[in-house]
Chain length 361, copies 2
């Protein structure tokens, strides 16, 4: 199976996204981006034994001096105190402004290690080595980095673009089924917000993706990254179009927040959140019944929850009011005008939203 | 006395620096930069009673909803845990991406509140209201924000430009003499690194500055900010010329670090550090004896320490090796080729530096 490469074009901050098998076993791919021997491999206790040990050995053989920073696994560790552990290790090993951070893991590691790199000595280079479908199609591309705060997800962060992204599809072989499905939520999202042809392709190829067919996965990751790159290129700092990438996320973050981060996977919450967004769009008259049905069907077929958990509307709203996309106190929702046509709507009143969240339909 | 305004030209991140008396009593100056009613006033327990209460009242009368975030005073509080207090307050008051942070205080408050604004929800606007000479001539202009780490000053930070800087010279009336002198260290620095004519002016006008003559102070602040703005415009992210602004700082940070932050004021350590840089330059043959003497004289006349404290060379070096300006393990020093001509030198060996720090001459 061949490797595919995509360029994220952001002037002097442009970078390649390389997608294909066995990339982590080719440290030579990283060497052009490492200006000195000191390099940190930030990972977690689940991923590091699977891929990190081998990566570190390869880097050492290439003459580098890798420092291992292995954090506990899980969204509940995406905190300021984990960040302090990374800062401490970088300083103890005398990292400087030319040292490079490698983020080896899923979205939590990528976001956290990326934020550490964004803020260590006011910014050092970093490289994304995503090992989950979710991070390969979403968080590793676009430069959003962050940690969580008890009062909200990703509340503390920065925009900091990686120097290169290596999406090694071989790492997906060991990914639990539940996480594969959660990753598909973000893949489906690209079809829903801006790419009806990709959505058609997904409807046909979902069985192949669930069976982890190599060619299908590579195509889905490539198309997802292409869509994400186009959005980020047009709106790096989320002043406009980039907000559309949050389809299902305002509802989804609230679901995650109320249940406690980690009860539902992010992709699961986004899956149920996209159904809510589609249902609200239908109720507002912008999405047809047939398009709502296609949305519900593909999310269900991906093995994602179609129904949100049993949460009081008021609790959902309390979380939604903390969303970063809000402006001037109004809740900004991403809704649909059709499959492939998402838009921002800040005009839904609290009363209408409460009523909708009570019926969930 | 009239108000002077300077523009820091950084394309879409350009902003004015306004210098003059009684600016904090004119909340109207801030209104064009506040897009919503929610605004945080971050200050400390010393400065807030002096100027903050009045500022908050003025903002409230102008129809805004200010939130007071008052931290303990002192460099020892420029930490990640103070930062958490700011994040907590912003989230508890439902701040969003259009909310604005006002930093009212000296460099510690400006750096810390600026970093909070740089990272809260991946970046919200902030405004610098510096109330010390040091922060008016240095830290409030240029967009460097940071907090300290036990292993080094300003190790965690970001570049984040303010929307406007109001340097209210009336606040200097209550500034302790020791802090006024510490601020003069950075003023003298601009003369030493790039502006011989300003250095000549300073030699003549130092008595007027020490006597807090209004016109002299306004001129010194304006010329300092102009020099800093020119450097920052040419090199926002410290790839080259901006490093020259650190004349005296590599030595100075080490002095502060060994003594414990807060024992010597930052400006005092920079004063002694600039003398060390000048002496080393003289020893290396790039600075004449007459120019070294002028440097020592003006620093002594400003009431700043000319001699570093009694610290072993090895302890100084251990701190200097953590400096952010270092690359590939080499210590980068800012030295002088003459008054008004600083340059970067990474070629001084550890042995030569140890020997110099033992003799201090």
């Amino acid at each position: 199976m061949s490797t595919r490469t995509l360029e994220v074009r952001l002037a002097e901050r442009s970078y390649p996204v390389v997608i294909g098998p066995d990339l982590l076993q080719q440290p030579g791919l990283l060497l052009p981006y490492l200006k000195q021997r000191r390099v940190a491999v930030v990972s977690n206790e689940t991923v590091f034994p699977l891929f990190g040990r081998k990566l570190v050995d390869g880097l050492r053989q290439a003459g580098l001096e890798p420092t291992e920073i292995v954090l506990p696994d899980g969204e509940e560790h995406k905190t300021l105190s984990s960040l302090e552990r990374v800062y401490d290790a970088l300083l103890r090993h005398a990292f400087d402004r030319k040292s490079v951070v490698l983020a080896l893991g899923g979205g939590v590691i990528g976001d956290l290690a990326g934020f550490a790199a964004a803020t260590f000595q006011r910014g050092i280079p970093f490289i994304q080595l995503p090992t989950t479908l979710l991070s390969q199609v979403d968080s590793s591309v676009g430069g959003k980095t962050a940690v969580n705060h008890p009062l909200g997800k990703n509340m503390i962060g920065a925009f900091h673009q990686p120097r290169i992204v290596l999406a090694d599809t071989s790492t997906l072989a060991t990914l639990p089924d539940r996480e594969l499905r959660a990753g598909l939520a973000e893949v489906i999202k690209y079809g829903l917000i801006r790419d009806p042809a990709f959505f058609d392709w997904l409807e046909l190829n979902l069985p192949a993706l669930l069976a982890r067919d190599d060619a299908a996965l590579t195509h889905a990751i490539f198309e997802s990254c292409r869509n994400k790159a186009e959005v980020v290129e047009a709106d790096e700092h989320e002043q406009g179009e980039r907000a559309l990438l949050n389809l299902g996320h305002t509802f989804g973050h609230a679901i995650e927040g109320v249940l406690g981060f980690g009860t539902w996977l992010h992709g699961e919450a986004v899956g149920a959140g996209m159904v809510l967004a589609a249902r609200l769009s239908h109720r507002l008259g912008t999405l047809s019944a047939a398009e709502l049905a296609r949305t519900e069907t593909i999310i269900g077929a991906a093995g994602l929850p179609v129904e949100m958990p049993d949460i009081a509307a008021e609790r959902m709203l309390a979380f939604m009011e903390h969303d970063k996309k809000n402006q001037d106190g109004a809740i900004r929702l991403i809704l649909m005008r059709g499959i492939g046509k998402a838009y921002v709507d800040a005009s839904v009143s609290r009363a209408a939203l409460t009523d909708f969240l009570r019926r969930r339909n």
